[in-house]
C-alpha cells in the first residue's frame, strides 16, 4: 500500500473518530447540564405533589396561656425558636427558588394549636404542622410579618406580640403530578388513535397497494408532512380539533383529546414510514412460501409478514412516544399552558414539556426546576425504551 493511500485512509478514519467524539461530547454536555441543574430538586415529593399550594387562614381567640417549652436541643442553628409561641421556623428555598419560611418544630403546648379555620367553621382538625410553610402573620395594629423577610424576623415579631389577626400557611406547591398524569394520558390516547391508522396505512402502502399515481402521491404527501414544523400542526389543532371536540364532547375549551388528535396527526408520518421500513425488510420468501401454501394475500400479510415486522413496529412506537413527550410547540395551542392538578380528559392541562416551557417563560425563569423535569423526561424515555426492548426480545425468542 502506498504512503499516500495510507495517509488518506488515516485522515478519513480520523474524521470519523472526530465526528463521533464531537457528537458524544455534545450529548454528554446536555446530560451533565441537566443533571447539574436539576438533580438537587429531584425527589419523590416533587413527582407526587400538587402544583398549586393549598392555603389555610388561621384565626386565634385571646391567648390566655403561652408555651413554656424550652428550646429543644435537637434544633440546629438555622432554626429560630420562639419560647412564647412554642414554634421553630427555618429559612429555605421553595421549588421556584424563592425564599420561604418552613415550620421545623412545634411544641405540644403551643398556643398555635388553638387556631381555628377562618374559611370553614366546621373544620375541627385544623392545625399547623411541621413542614408547613408560613407565608404571613397578620396583626390588627402593625405591619404583617412576611416570609420574604425571613424566619428570624417572623419569630422576633411573634415574640413581641400577644395576639395576631391571621396566620396564613400553606403546603409546598410546585409539584408536577398533574403534568405527569397529563403526559401519560396523552401518550395513551395518542397511541390509541395514531398506531392503528398508521400501521394499517403502512400495510396498505407496502403490501396491498398497486404502484400507481395515486399511491405515489399519497407517499409523497406523507413525506412532505414530516417536514412541516409542529407549530403549524398546533394551529391546525386549534382551528379544527378544538372546535370539533368542544362540539361533540363535554369539553368547553382546548382539552386532552384535541391535544392527542393533533399529536396523532404529527405522528402518522413517523409511524407509517417506520412500519413500512420494517415491512420492507421481511424477506419475500416468507410471502411466497405462505402464498404457495394456499393462503390468500390478506392472510399472508397478517399471519406471516406482520409478526416478523413486529419488532420494527415496536421501534416505531418508541419513536412516537419520544415524540409525544418531547412535543411542546403544537401542544401550546392544542391543549393550552394552564398547569392543573385535577386532570380530566375534557379539561385543560399541560404535559411535562409544556410545563418546562411555562417555567422558562416566567420572570425570572426557573432553570433548576425545568432541568429537573427534563431529567424526569429522560428517565421516562429510557424506561420506555427498556420496556419495549424487553418485549421485542421476548417476542423474538418466541419466534425463533
Amino acid at each position: 500500500m502506498s504512503n499516500k493511500r495510507k495517509r488518506i485512509d488515516n485522515l478519513l478514519k480520523g474524521i470519523t473518530y472526530f465526528s463521533a467524539s464531537i457528537a458524544a461530547i455534545i450529548l454528554l454536555f446536555i446530560i451533565i447540564f441537566v443533571f447539574k441543574n436539576g438533580f438537587g430538586l429531584l425527589n419523590i415529593d416533587l413527582i407526587t405533589n400538587d402544583y398549586h399550594a393549598k392555603f389555610y387562614n388561621g384565626g386565634i381567640e385571646e391567648v390566655t396561656e403561652f408555651s413554656k417549652t424550652q428550646r429543644p436541643s435537637h434544633l440546629s442553628d438555622e432554626d429560630y425558636y420562639s419560647e412564647k409561641w412554642g414554634i421553630a421556623l427555618r429559612d429555605d428555598l421553595d421549588r421556584e427558588g424563592k425564599a420561604m419560611v418552613i415550620v421545623s418544630y412545634i411544641s405540644e403546648d403551643s398556643p398555635l394549636y388553638q387556631i381555628y379555620d377562618k374559611n370553614n367553621d366546621d373544620n375541627d382538625e385544623f392545625m399547623i404542622e411541621k413542614g408547613n410553610l408560613i407565608s404571613s402573620i397578620k396583626f390588627e395594629d402593625k405591619a404583617s410579618a412576611l416570609s420574604v423577610y425571613g424566619a428570624q424576623h417572623m419569630i422576633q415579631i411573634l415574640n413581641e406580640s400577644n395576639q395576631f389577626r391571621e396566620i396564613v400557611f400553606s403546603s409546598l406547591g410546585g409539584g408536577i403530578r398533574g403534568s405527569l398524569i397529563t403526559t401519560l394520558y396523552i401518550i395513551g390516547i395518542t397511541l390509541a388513535i395514531a398506531l392503528p391508522i398508521g400501521i394499517f396505512s403502512a400495510i396498505y402502502l407496502n403490501e396491498l397497494s398497486r404502484k400507481n399515481k395515486i399511491n405515489q402521491m399519497i407517499r409523497s404527501m406523507i413525506e412532505t408532512l414530516t417536514g412541516v414544523p409542529s407549530i403549524i400542526y398546533g394551529l391546525m389543532g386549534l382551528a379544527v380539533f378544538v372546535p370539533l371536540t368542544v362540539k361533540y364532547t363535554p369539553a368547553t375549551s382546548a382539552n386532552l383529546i384535541s391535544g392527542s388528535l393533533t399529536l396523532a396527526v404529527i405522528l402518522l408520518p413517523v409511524i407509517i414510514k417506520a412500519t413500512e421500513e420494517s415491512l420492507k425488510v421481511v424477506p419475500d420468501d416468507y410471502r411466497q412460501a405462505s402464498l404457495a401454501l394456499g393462503a390468500n394475500r390478506t392472510q399472508t400479510t397478517f399471519k406471516a409478514v406482520l409478526p416478523s415486522a413486529l419488532p420494527g413496529i415496536l421501534t416505531a412506537t418508541i419513536l412516537s412516544i419520544g415524540r409525544i413527550i418531547g412535543e411542546s410547540a403544537a401542544l401550546i395551542f392544542a391543549i393550552g399552558t394552564a398547569v392543573k392538578d385535577n386532570i380530566t380528559i375534557f379539561g385543560r392541562s399541560t404535559t411535562l414539556s409544556v410545563h418546562i416551557w411555562s417555567l422558562m417563560t416566567d420572570e425570572p425563569a426557573n432553570i433548576e426546576l425545568a432541568s429537573t423535569i427534563a431529567l424526569i423526561i429522560l428517565v421516562i424515555v429510557l424506561l420506555l425504551n427498556l420496556i419495549v426492548k424487553l418485549i421485542s426480545h421476548q417476542y423474538l425468542k418466541k419466534l425463533a
Binding site: 467524539s21 461530547i25 392555603f55 424563592k98 420574604v148 389577626r165 385535577n342 420572570e363
Partner: protein
C-alpha cells in the same frame, strides 16, 4: 481505542478553554445592547421610563447590532458579556450582575415606594365587562377578587412575591361581608386568569391564597403576554376559546385598550433595573444617557466614564 480517547480529550480541552475569559474590563470596547422584543411589557415600561417611547414597538430606532433576548436571556448574557447592557425587572435582579443607579437613585424597593426611583412600570388588571359574564357567580367572585387586591392581605402577597404593592385600605376581614358569594361553596366554578407573564407568579400566589377565602373556586392560569390581557377579556378574543375573566398587563393600558367603566385598575408597581456586567466601572446612568446608548449615540463605554 487510545486514539478515540485522545481525540475525545482534545475536543474536551478545546471546548472548556473556549468558555473561559479572564481579560480585565476595557472601557474602550463597544457596548453590546440587549433588549426585549416588541411585545414585552418590560420593554414598553423601560422605553417609557427613559423617554424613548417611540422605540417600544419599533426596532428600527435602536442602535445597529442590538440583540433581542428574553428576560432570562438578558440576565445570563450580561453575566458573561463584559460589555453588555440590558434591563430586567427588579424582582429578577441577583448578585451575579450589577444593577445600576438611575438618575443617582439606587434600585431598591424603598426608593420605588417613596417615589424617588423613576424607572418603574405599573402592573395592571382588567376584568370582563360586568354584563358579559356567563353567570352572576363568576361575576361576583371576580369582583371579590378585585376587592381583595386592594386589601392589606392582597398587598402582603404582592410584597412577598417581590413586586411593590400600592397603599392598601383595610383587610379582607373588614370587607368580606360585602361579598356574600364567598361564603358559598364555589368549588365547581373555574375563574380564568391570563395576560402578562411577568405577573404570572404574583397572580398565582394571589389566587391560591384567595381561593380558600372565597368558597374554593378553581383558578386557572394561562399567561401569554400583556397584550392578551385586554384582548381576552374585553377585546377581540373575549368570546374565543382562550377567553379570560381577569387579564393582567405589565405596562399601562394603551389607548386602544380602554375597557368599560370600573373594570380596570392597578395592583402593584414594578421597578425596572438597568444591568451591566459585574466588572463594569459605570455605577449610575441618567435617562438621557441610557436613551443615547439605545439609540446609538454612545457606542463605547469610554464615552460614559
Amino acid at each position: 481505542m487510545k486514539k478515540i480517547l485522545l481525540v475525545f480529550l482534545l475536543a474536551l480541552v478545546l471546548s472548556v478553554s473556549a468558555c473561559t475569559n479572564d481579560d480585565a474590563w476595557d472601557s474602550s470596547k463597544n457596548i453590546t445592547v440587549y433588549t426585549r422584543d416588541t411585545s414585552s411589557g418590560t420593554r414598553a415600561g423601560f422605553m417609557e421610563g427613559i423617554d424613548f417611547s417611540d422605540a417600544a414597538e419599533n426596532d428600527g430606532l435602536l442602535v445597529d447590532g442590538f440583540l433581542i433576548k428574553d428576560n432570562t436571556g438578558i440576565l445570563s448574557s450580561i453575566e458573561v458579556d463584559q460589555y453588555g447592557i440590558g434591563y430586567i425587572s427588579l424582582a429578577s435582579l441577583n448578585d451575579k450582575v450589577k444593577g445600576l443607579q438611575f438618575e443617582g437613585v439606587d434600585p431598591t424597593k424603598q426608593n420605588v415606594v417613596n417615589n424617588t426611583y423613576g424607572l418603574k412600570r405599573p402592573f395592571n388588571y382588567i376584568i370582563r365587562s360586568l354584563d358579559d359574564f356567563a353567570n352572576d357567580t363568576e361575576r361576583d367572585i371576580t369582583l371579590a377578587f378585585v376587592a381583595f387586591l386592594n386589601t392589606s392581605d392582597g398587598a402582603d402577597i404582592i410584597t412577598n412575591e417581590g413586586a411593590i404593592s400600592l397603599s392598601s385600605n383595610g383587610t379582607w376581614d373588614d370587607i368580606k361581608d360585602q361579598h356574600p358569594v364567598c361564603s358559598l361553596d364555589n368549588s365547581s366554578i373555574t375563574i380564568k386568569f391570563g395576560g402578562s407573564d411577568s405577573i404570572e407568579k404574583i397572580a398565582l400566589a394571589l389566587t391560591e391564597s384567595f381561593a380558600p377565602k372565597c368558597g374554593n373556586f378553581v383558578p386557572e392560569h394561562e399567561h401569554t403576554g400583556s397584550s392578551d390581557g385586554f384582548k381576552r377579556t374585553q377585546g377581540s378574543e373575549k368570546d374565543g376559546d382562550n377567553y379570560k375573566h381577569v387579564g393582567f398587563a405589565s405596562r399601562p393600558f394603551k389607548d386602544s385598550e380602554v375597557g368599560s367603566e370600573g373594570t380596570q385598575g392597578q395592583l402593584a408597581w414594578d421597578a425596572i433595573v438597568v444591568i451591566v456586567h459585574k466588572e463594569n466601572l459605570v455605577n449610575n446612568l441618567t435617562a438621557e444617557e441610557i436613551k443615547k446608548i439605545y439609540r446609538g449615540d454612545f457606542l463605547t463605554w469610554d464615552e460614559l466614564l
